[in-house]
């Protein structure tokens, strides 16, 4: 666990940490620029949907980022219940928040794509409904954490809820394989008639890499936030204890 803490929470005060962070941000910015260029100018025109199909590269990448973040959250939730180390709880909530952000990006790009492609913004088919339920479940996870004061109880209950919520994630993935949906059939691992043009596949990999790098950088910052929150709680306890100690000395002096 110290390894995860060190990996996700390197100090930025040292010049090495700051240089690494600046390097990672510049790399991410270059990747974002190149991914945008590739999706707009390198990817070939799709014969039925034309320009709007270019949303696909970032739409799929957002969902992949969401599945990755929520899988990390699932592992962290299980690890918290087994070990009770606070770092797992920090990683759990950080991953869920980043997962919700990726899910929001996936839903927005889906809606932007749906209107010109289907003529409607939204439909309650199996894929869209299970994805929406997943989004609501993880927002509930974040709301639940805000309602519980005791840190141990908050971590345990949210870990159990997080494990339960994750059951919907594989259902989202298989929904357009199990049922007929308005959402297009899977183009990757979708059987005989599926697959991507080789250039489209390369552009998808670039876009996927850019969204993943951004997701990981945001996750590192969000984990760092949780660690600082823990530090504030400890300092508040120390300040309260010192205040209580001086009050007790004062009352002894008065009596």
């Amino acid at each position: 666990m110290e390894g995860i803490s060190g990996l996700l929470g390197p100090g930025l005060n040292g010049s090495h940490g700051m240089k690494a962070r600046i390097g990672a941000t510049v790399f991410a910015a270059a990747l974002i620029f190149f991914a945008g260029y590739a999706a707009l100018f390198i990817a070939p025109d799709e014969s039925t949907m034309h320009e709007i199909q270019r949303v696909f590269y970032f739409h799929l990448a957002s969902w992949m980022a969401m599945f990755t973040a929520l899988s990390i959250a699932f592992v962290a939730n299980v690890a918290w219940l087994l070990s009770r180390r606070p770092q797992w709880d920090w990683l759990g909530v950080a991953s869920v928040e980043v997962g919700v952000v990726s899910c929001t990006a996936g839903l927005i790009t889906g809606v932007l794509w749906g209107r010109p492609a289907w003529g409607i913004w939204w439909t309650w088919d199996a894929r869209l409904t299970t994805a929406f339920i997943l989004w609501i479940l993880y927002i509930s996870y974040l709301l639940l954490r805000g309602l519980i004061e005791d840190p141990q109880r908050r971590a345990s209950l949210s870990a159990i809820f997080g494990i339960f919520a994750f059951l919907d994630a594989p259902l989202v993935y298989v929904s357009n394989r199990l049922w007929r949906t308005q959402h297009p059939s899977p183009v990757i691992f979708g059987g005989e008639n599926s697959g991507l043009d080789p250039t489209m596949g390369k552009v998808l990999i670039v876009c996927l890499a850019s969204v993943m790098v951004v997701m990981i950088l945001v996750l590192i910052d969000r984990y760092r936030l949780e660690r600082l929150r823990h530090e504030v709680d400890e300092l508040r306890l120390a300040a309260d204890a010192r205040g209580a100690g001086s009050n007790s000395v004062l009352s002894k002096g008065l009596s």
Partner: protein
């Protein structure tokens, strides 16, 4: 663009919360030093 806008807005909120927490840590450390 929509994807980057969502991530950028989230990163801004994280940076803002980090800044507030760093300020709070400095305040509490000063409070403990002053006794």
């Amino acid at each position: 663009m929509a994807v980057w806008a969502v991530f950028f807005a989230f990163e801004l909120s994280v940076a803002s919360r980090l800044g507030k927490l760093r300020g709070e840590i400095e305040r509490l450390k000063q409070q403990l030093r002053d006794g």
